[in-house]
Amino acid sequence: IVGGGPVRIKEGSWMVSIQRGSTHWCGGSLVREEWVLTDRQCFSSCVPDLSEYRVWLGISHLNESGENDFHRQERRISHVICGPEGSSLALLRLTQPALPRERVRIIQLPVADCRIQEDTICSVYGWGETKGTGHEGTLKRVHLPIVSNERCQQLHNRAIPINSSKLCAGGKRDEGVCEKDYGGPLVCQESNSKVIVGVSINGRGCARQNRPAIFMNVAFYTGWIHKVFKN
């Protein structure tokens, strides 16, 4: 995360670090005890060699040790379910469900086809590239305003089609998601309720002013997600 700051303990308890080999590779969100929502591009294909991936839950720092490491839950992935064509989403089924704890919680999915109002301040989370803005290896968060699809399309010089399957946030400053944050969530809050409205995806640039970050619109795919859970 470029800009922003470290996340307080317990916040971001739905965040997972997808590890490839023994390094952090992508972000992801725990949406059910045995399901993680992430970017499909974190995997070489819909049938990757899963032996090289692990999912870490309940951590705030990637190199935690001692007491803090006590909260860490590690899971292997049993299946990658690729999202509908063009979604760039994937649901990861864990070999064993995560155990809900103080630092391991699921995040709510949005109501299907809902919309978040422009300029609503939401947050992105991740352990990725900071571009020198500090707190390397620690889970960071930065607040970003929602940008309408029309405005986002203009700011991207109409080079990328921003249809209803996507949504945009940020672009006010050089801050936002960057390398290895991809797959992580865009989270909005109303009262005490937090909802994952977007999933950051690879290949859309990294934290640039006047170039809002593009996310997959989770609400557009809520039906698919529930159907995967059900079946």
Binding site: R115, Q117, F220
Partner: protein, 457 residues
């Protein structure tokens, strides 16, 4: 114990016709082909040097010949009764190692100078006279290696300024290069990488085997040459060493490594599907294929880096070893390998036309019955329990196992599968509208909140 036939190269169904004056053919005698070879090799009680023999398969009669197909004036004729066996030493124009046994026809040095006759002492005087070195075959002015020199066969030259020069006779391993894993290699290498002599493919000794030339007529299993009839990493052969069943041969790799004669296809396969480069990664039973670069659940030797031109990407069905169909290792620990007969054969079943659906595809009534990853759809009636309401609806229209959209899924038609890893998936169908994600968004006034607030006490 070395079989006498090892020294011969065989040509099926031909005989040699030679001018009567300079040739000799023994009278036909009934014997086995092995004995015939031994007689020709021993050369005992013969008034001529035996260079070849002709064997009548029907009558089992053996004719020893003082000439071979390279002898001037000799013609080759098709004759289904006879097989011709010629001594390899006289036929081959390449060497193994330093070419000590080379008995070929080359008589020019590497810089193009004509060789001096071995029995002549001009322009260069020397001691390598034919009568002194009988076993070295110092005939005429042919390149030979009578002194076991490391640079191979040589000769004294007819140029007074150049006493001797080597003849630059190529190594048998470099006469013909191989592409891919050498399945199409038909070159003359007949020794393994450790220097062992190869066993003839048509012999059962010292090693019994199933790779008989008649059984695999298209694999080039000629004489005892290194070949790759079964998709190993490189050409190989059984060896004449009883304690070493087989070994790989070292053969030069071609600079360009494309397979050349393989016709690549993606939607269907031709022949045995060696050129299939599509993305089907499931078996006909719907079991997902194991990735080629993975060793679990099945250990194997088909590492993609060892079979670069076989395109062993992801978990796609391929035929790297010339089996009947494209195949894969499966992710089912109990089923190591499965043929991907779910891939259509080109020409037999025409590739499915590009089909598309309108809207969200809830009115799609077509016959597509495969998911986007190629898994066959399961009958809807088998899943009645999980979704009774709409499966009943489909049963009314006899949906069979065709892709449908009974729950009005906005991402298009889908179906159940019999695969445990992907119980259902979207079908291999495209939307007829180029940007089907541009579905009308709800108006501002009817905007739905993304939050569901739990009412707690």
């Amino acid at each position: 114990k070395r079989h006498a036939l090892q020294d011969y190269q065989k040509t099926d169904a031909v005989s040699l016709v030679a001018p009567p004056d300079a040739s000799y053919m023994s009278k036909g005698r009934k014997m086995s082909v092995g004995k015939c070879a031994r007689r020709c090799s021993r050369n005992r009680k013969l008034q001529f040097t035996c260079r070849a023999f002709s064997f009548n398969q029907k009558t089992a009669k053996c004719h020893l010949l003082s000439y071979d197909s390279l002898t001037v004036g000799v013609r080759i004729e098709n004759d289904s009764n006879f097989d011709l066996y010629e001594k390899k030493d006289f036929m081959r124009e390449c060497i193994i190692g330093n070419g000590l046994n080379y008995k070929g026809k080359r008589s020019v040095t590497k810089s193009g100078v004509q060789c001096q006759l071995w029995n002549s002492k001009t322009p260069h005087e020397h001691n390598f006279l034919p009568q002194r070195h009988k076993h070295r075959d110092l005939r005429e002015n042919l390149c030979r290696n009578p002194d076991n020199t490391t640079t191979g066969p040589w000769c004294f030259t007819t140029d007074p300024k150049i006493r001797h020069q080597d003849c630059s006779i190529p190594q048998c391993s470099e006469v013909e290069c191989m592409t891919c894993n050498g399945e199409s290699y038909r070159g003359p290498m007949d020794h393994t990488e450790s220097g062992r002599e190869c066993q003839r493919w048509d012999l059962e000794e010292p090693h019994k085997h199933l790779f008989h030339p008649k059984r695999y007529p298209d694999k080039g299993l000629k004489d005892n040459y290194c070949r790759n009839p079964d998709g190993r990493q490189r050409p190989w052969c059984f060896t004449t060493d009883p304690s070493t069943p087989w070994e790989y041969c070292n053969i030069k790799q071609c600079d360009s490594d494309n397979s050349g004669d393989v016709d690549n296809t993606t939607t269907c396969f031709r022949g045995r599907g060696e050129g299939y480069r599509g993305t089907v990664g499931v078996t006909p039973e719907g079991v997902t294929c194991q990735r080629w670069d993975a060793q679990f659940p099945h250990r194997h030797s088909y590492a993609p880096q060892n079979y670069r031109c076989k395109d062993l990407r992801e978990n796609y069905c391929r035929n790297p070893d010339g089996r009947q169909f494209p195949w894969c290792f499966t992710t089912d620990p109990n089923v190591p390998v499965a043929f991907c007969t779910n891939i259509p054969r080109c020409g037999v079943t025409p590739p499915e036309p590009e089909e598309c659906y309108t809207g969200i595809g809830d009115t799609y009534n077509g016959k597509r019955a495969k998911t986007r990853s190629g898994i066959p759809c399961a009958p809807w009636k088998d899943h009645r329990e999980s979704n009774e309401r709409y499966v009943d609806l489909l049963m009314a229209e006899q949906a069979g196992n065709f892709c449908r959209n009974p729950d009005k899924d906005k991402h298009g038609p889908w179906c159940y599968t019999n695969s445990s890893s992907i119980p259902w998936d979207y079908c291999a169908l495209k939307s007829c509208e180029p940007s089907h994600n541009n579905l009308p968004q709800k108006d501002e006034s009817t905007r739905t909140s993304c939050f569901v607030h739990k009412q707690v006490r």
